[in-house]
Amino acid sequence: MFKSLIIILASISTFALAENTSINGSVQSRCIISTDTEGTYGNPNAYTLTTAVSDGGVLAVTRFDVTLADAYYAQITAPNSFSTSPSLPDTVTWTGDTVVKAISDSTGMADYETNKVEFDYTDKYDMTATGSTWFKTTSAATMGGSKAYAGGSYTSLVLAECIAQ
């Protein structure tokens, strides 16, 4: 009697241990845009704000991760206006450019920089390989007539876009 009870209990406990807990997931193509480094303007003279490192600035760095080759374009647009600033005494001349800073696949991504398309402040890259790419963006804003920038905080936006092909 006691042996039978033990066998029954053992069977029940076996059933309990056999219970499965599933973990479900799906993998799909995607593009992830990450802000790696926020830029900072240096102020080498009264009428220039620039992200150039030699002038005390910091370049904005954006990272793109893609999980499917030939599925996305990366478009990065350097700033051409301030998003916040004190009142400006004159018009501002903007310059900006984006270049590839680092790549995770030295073979598949080697041509990204040479094959990019540039228009206005925008650089467009064809993401032909999977992996991560870091882009650095430079920006400079020169006040017209060599007039001095007023004291205060100046910020602008780099637009990073991932557009499905």
Partner: protein, 124 residues
């Protein structure tokens, strides 16, 4: 040292990213005749962003009328939202992109920031 660099790289990647899926959505019939809907998912891993603006565009990135629960979605850091985008079926042929764009609040801007926009494409 290399391990530390990799960890830092991963941590930095986890902190400030924005993603939207699927890359190639499909239109499905909504419960109302003449209306199509597409289901999208947005994930906010940018701790500097709380709002994302949804837009529907043609091939030239001109806006196309659409309806969604919110055109600007509030999404906390590490939050995920599934949302439907509805269009008139007569607009189906000209809709090419659904995009989400990060919206930065003026008072949160301290430096030259990055606005991110991800666009999914209708291929059929």
């Amino acid at each position: 040292m290399k391990k530390l660099a990799v960890v830092l790289l991963l941590v930095s990647g986890l902190s400030y990213s924005h993603e939207m899926t699927p890359t190639y959505p499909k239109w499905k019939r909504a419960h109302l005749s003449g209306i199509l809907k597409a289901k999208m998912e947005l994930f906010n891993k940018r701790n500097d962003v709380e709002y994302y603006e949804i837009g529907v565009f043609n091939k030239d990135f001109e806006p196309v009328p659409f309806v969604s629960a919110y055109s600007v979605i509030k999404l906390k850091y590490l939050g995920k939202v599934v949302f439907d985008v509805f269009i008139n079926s007569t607009d189906k042929s000209r809709v090419v992109y659904i995009c989400s764009k990060s919206k930065l609040r003026k008072e949160d801007l301290r430096r030259t920031a990055v606005a991110s926009r991800i666009c999914s494409k209708f291929k059929d």
